[in-house]
């Protein structure tokens, strides 16, 4: 038990010296933060408890590249910064939108996906038929806490009321239950909502609304690892692994292939 504590402390010291890549190569262990409710990106199937999604597939590819065993760590947008900063995982791979706030705390890799903001409404909601109907008085717009949608919608909405909920699933529950009219989401979540839930209707912006590039998050001051990941991103963009993984999850339309 004592040895265990010593080992743990030593490890912690090592991490603080910020060379994750070396650690990974040493331990052959890659720890990836995922948010297991992110449709198409990193979603856990409740029946077999298996993770699925483009970033899960790419994490497997990354682990293979780094010749490390892969383990997934549950995270969320709300706990993202702390999870990465505190080294709960080596890298967070669940389509992390590039926002200023995150960039202040984290290193965000070059984007491999890019999504606009989409809205999900109930099919039977007559008040919202198109994008312009959203920002109207008496409309309640739900967004998930910690997502970049919060700031974007705060700036954008003039008449509608913004409702910030705790999780992504909470958003859909609010809309389905009628406590909110619409929730804002991105393309991967949106298309999966529509295919999984018969009541859901996707409303696409009439013109580009707020394109957000998605990448992965690495703790700052981890240049070696960051470089390694960047080169991996270049590789998968070049050799089609990105496209193949995107296609498997119907996301090929939003991949960013430019290096």
């Amino acid at each position: 038990m004592r040895w265990f504590i010593i080992f743990f402390m030593a490890s912690a010291l090592t991490y603080s010296q910020a060379d994750i890549l070396e650690d990974i190569q040493k331990t052959h262990q890659l720890r990836v933060c995922v948010w297991p409710e992110y449709y198409g990106i990193s979603y856990i199937d409740p029946r077999m408890q298996t993770l699925e999604g483009i970033d899960v597939d790419l994490a497997k590819e990354l682990a293979k590249t780094l010749q490390a065993n892969l383990s997934f760590i549950e995270s969320s947008f709300a706990t993202l910064i702390s999870d990465v900063e505190n080294h709960r995982c080596d890298i967070a791979m669940f389509a992390i939108g590039k926002t200023k706030q995150r960039q202040e705390h984290l290193y965000l890799t070059s984007p491999h996906l890019s999504s606009d903001i989409y809205a999900i409404v109930s099919k039977y909601n007559n008040r919202i038929q198109q994008w312009n109907d959203i920002d109207k008085p008496d409309i309640i717009v739900a967004v998930a806490k910690g997502t970049y949608h919060v700031d974007v919608m705060k700036n954008h909405l003039k008449y509608a009321k913004l409702l910030i909920v705790d999780s992504l699933h909470a958003r859909e529950q609010e809309v389905e239950a009628g406590r909110a009219d619409v929730f804002m989401t991105d393309f991967p979540f949106g298309i999966h909502m529509v295919s999984e839930h018969p009541w859901a209707k996707l409303i696409t912006p009439t013109e580009p609304f707020h394109m957000t590039p998605y990448g992965w998050a690495i703790a700052k001051n981890e240049k070696k690892f960051a470089d390694r990941v960047e080169s991996f991103i270049k590789e998968i963009k070049a050799d089609g692994r990105l496209f193949k993984a995107a296609k498997r999850h119907q996301l090929e339309s939003i991949i960013v292939t430019k290096p």
Binding site: P36, P46, R47, M48, E74
Partner: protein, 758 residues
């Protein structure tokens, strides 16, 4: 191609029908096949609905179990007291027939307490349960079927050793819970019989079977008793690390019929598999399909056959109609040619119809007027119009047909002979005529020809006929004319009838004749004419002046009989009646008539005297006796001649009989004395000549005569008988005075006075 097709004739219909029939059968087979697909798809859909319903049911059951387990810490107020928990288990078991037992396990799988006390201390292999939670989250996990009623005295099955058919079984599920942050596991034994009942009710065995497979292919439950619980799905290699896609692909490929369905649960690790019994679902349908197909093919063939027959009949009908059209055309032409028109007559309503030919044969435009009985009467000659209706009626009461002939007016106002033939073709129920039809036949020509023939026959009679024009030029004569006059028609035509004149009639006669012709239009009478051979003959003639419509004489028609023989006969009869055949003197009858005539004319204002001379030959009997009757007759004839010579032609010499002669001396003046002198002188003259010798066969012969005379006048005081007696008496006076004397009759009183005077 077209002509070839055309040349096929009736066969092209046959080909078309066969083609259509085959097409129909093909379409039928295709349709039935489509319907089968439709049926399959319907049953697959039903199977899918079953799968979905059962998946939802089982998911909800599991969810309820999950929620129940989650409630346990709260219900026990987070106390891990076995006593409380066991009590709680008992409460939770109520109204949960799908659960056999609740058990509380430690994290190693050992049962700490249970609603079934016997379960206590039994260890359960926690690795058997799926899914394995991500990051060790508390999830409801499903185990493999166990053989037995509950955990006690039971064992878990393996794919190699599944639950035997007749064994009781249950399915364990587990979930991690926390009592005051202390982890435990709750195990629940699910009652497979409950699900059996539920799903058998939803999907009866004869329809199909329902199977629930854990997502790794372990059979959790099946209504199909041949499947053993705990066995592996179609030799699926058993691995807990299979990903969903692999498992789904496995189930998808393992379905052996089209109507099977499976449903992957959305949140729980199991698959519902529905296998519909194809034999049951589609067997009846297939059987019916064959029946329908057979019947339909039979019916289609039958209808095709019928259609073909219809075609044939139609074809024949068309041919027949073609022939009929030509027949009708012929008929129409014949009607036109014979000027025959068709008519109909609705007897009860008196509605008449005419076909165009009816109008044409009368010279009218077709349908120039509307035909009705009024119009018909108007068109019909008045002489015919009155009788025709009655004639028709009387004819059709006896038999259906009738024939009448009548004159009808054409547009020029001329009369055209029309024969109307008709027949009753419909009768009312009480056998009265209802509908008649028939023809109008223009028989004008026949009629005219007939009339001509009759005329010709009439022309050639025993009576002579002579026709001249207005200028008396002979146009036509008949045989009788030739026979009577001796002139043939060739000789006489173009000449004037004056050639026949006998000059026996004077100018006045002819003037009267012409006058009568012009004023009365005819003349009739006896006429003496001259034959070709110069012979005079008598004729009884009727001359008619023929005038045209404006009254101008165009022709003269003379018909006459030769009455010459008749005339002669008439004279002969007269002779026989009034004259003595031997002497040709008037006989007693003529004499008496003459005297009566005179006596009856007594009304005359003046008196004329006559004398009656009675003459009897003296001793005539002697001559007869001596020389025979021939000599007597010869003498009588000579006497007659001498008497005629001695008298005026106006006097009448008669021979009443034997040797008696009576002579009537006429117009002897108005003086009685002079008259008696004149009579005496004539008597003397007679007597003188009679006394001259007669030349007889044997020689001369002399004979005297006794004459008695009586005078009379036309005053009518004496009758014939008186006169005859007086003359006779005077004659006997002559005889008594010695014969060959002349005596006047003297009235006895006069005689008495004379004798007194003398």
């Amino acid at each position: 191609m077209h002509t070839f097709f055309h040349r096929l004739g009736i066969w092209r219909y046959v080909l078309v029908v066969i083609f259509i029939s085959i097409l129909m059968i093909v379409i039928l087979i295709k349709t039935i096949s489509l319907l089968r697909q439709e049926a399959i798809s319907t049953h697959r859909h039903i199977a899918q609905l079953h799968a979905q319903a059962i998946e939802e049911h089982f998911s909800q059951t599991l969810q309820t179990v999950n929620n129940t387990i989650d409630q346990i810490p709260f219900l026990s107020s987070n106390q891990d007291s076995y006593e409380i928990i066991e009590h709680l288990f008992q409460i939770l078991l109520r109204n949960a027939p799908y659960i056999r037992s609740f058990s509380l396990l430690d994290m190693q799988g050992k049962i700490l307490t249970s609603s079934t006390p016997a379960n206590q201390n039994i260890s359960i292999d926690l690795q058997q349960f799926l899914p394995i939670p991500f990051e060790d989250k508390p999830l409801l996990r499903i185990g493999v079927p166990w053989v037995g009623r509950d955990f006690s005295s039971s064992y878990s099955s393996t794919p190699k050793q599944p639950v035997a058919k007749d064994h009781i079984s249950f399915i364990p599920v587990i979930k991690k819970i926390f009592f005051n942050n202390k982890p435990y596991i709750i195990a629940v034994a699910l009652n497979t019989d409950y699900f059996n009942n539920q799903y058998l009710h939803a999907l009866p065995l004869q329809d199909g079977t329902v199977s629930l497979w854990r997502i790794d292919g372990i059979l959790l439950f099946s209504s199909d008793k041949t499947l053993l619980l705990g066995s592996s799905h179609n030799a699926l290699t058993h691995s807990l690390n299979k990903d969903i896609e692999t498992l789904v692909a496995h189930f998808a490929t393992q379905h052996h019929t089209l109507i099977d369905a499976y449903k992957l649960a959305s949140t729980m690790p199991f698959v519902v598999d529905i296998e519909m019994h194809e034999d049951f679902v589609l067997g009846y349908w297939d059987k019916e399909r064959h029946k329908i197909l057979l019947i339909s093919v039979f019916l289609i063939s039958l209808s095709s056959l019928l259609v073909l027959l219809l075609f044939l009949r139609y074809y024949k009908e068309v041919l027949r109609q073609k022939q009929q059209i030509s027949y009708e055309k012929q008929f129409r032409l014949a009607m036109e040619a014979t000027q025959t028109g068709l008519w109909t007559w609705h007897y009860d309503t008196n509605v008449l119809t005419w076909d165009p030919e009816c109008y044409l044969l009368l010279g009218y435009q077709p349908f120039e007027f509307e035909i009705s009985w009024e119009k018909l009467f108007e068109l019909t000659h008045p002489d015919d119009a009155n009788s025709m209706f009655a004639s028709i009626q009387s004819q059709i009461t006896e038999h259906p047909e009738f024939v009448i002939e009548r004159r009808m007016r054409n547009p020029k106002g001329q009369w055209v002979w029309i024969q109307v033939r008709g027949k009753v073709i419909e009768y009312t129920l009480d056998n009265k005529p209802l509908f008649l039809t028939g023809v109008y036949i223009n028989i004008n020509t026949q009629r005219q020809a007939e009339e001509l023939r009759i005329s010709a026959v009439a022309f050639e009679t025993q009576e002579a006929i002579l026709i001249t024009d207005a200028s008396e030029k002979i146009l036509k004569v008949n045989h009788a004319f030739t026979k009577i006059t001796g002139y043939s028609s060739e000789e006489i035509i173009g000449k004037s009838p004056r050639i026949l004149k006998s000059n026996k009639h004077d100018k006045a006669f002819y003037q009267s004749l012409w006058h009568s012709l012009e004023t009365e239009g005819y003349w009739q009478g006896e006429l003496w004419n001259k034959r070709k051979n110069g012979e005079i003959y008598a004729e009884y003639i009727m001359i008619t002046a023929i005038r045209n419509e404006v009254g101008i004489i165009t022709h003269y028609l003379a018909n006459f009989n030769d009455i010459t023989n008749y005339k002669a006969a008439e004279e002969k009869i007269h002779e026989l009646a009034y004259y003595d055949p031997l002497t040709h003197l008037a006989n007693r009858r003529l004499l008496h008539e003459k005297i009566d005539q005179i006596l009856s004319h007594n009304h005359q204002n003046y008196t004329i005297y006559y004398a009656l001379v009675f003459l009897d030959l003296d001793h005539f009997k002697q001559l007869n006796d001596t020389f025979g009757h021939d000599a007597g007759d010869m003498l009588l004839v000579q006497v007659a001649k001498r008497l005629l010579d001695c008298t005026r032609s106006s006097d009448i010499v008669s021979r009443p009989g034997g040797d008696e002669f009576v002579i009537l001396l006429e117009n002897l003046g108005n003086n009685a004395l002079q008259s008696s002198f004149m009579a005496q002188s004539v008597a003397k003259k007679i007597l003188f000549y009679l006394n001259k010798p007669y030349e007889l066969a044997h020689g001369e012969y002399t004979m005297g005569a006794s004459i008695g005379i009586t005078l009379f006048s036309n005053d009518g005081t004496k009758t014939l008988d008186v006169l005859m007696k007086e003359a006779d008496s005077a004659m006997y006076s002559s005889k008594s005075k010695g014969r060959n004397q002349i005596c006047f009759y003297e009235h006895p009183l006069v005689k008495e006075n004379e004798s007194r005077l003398t």
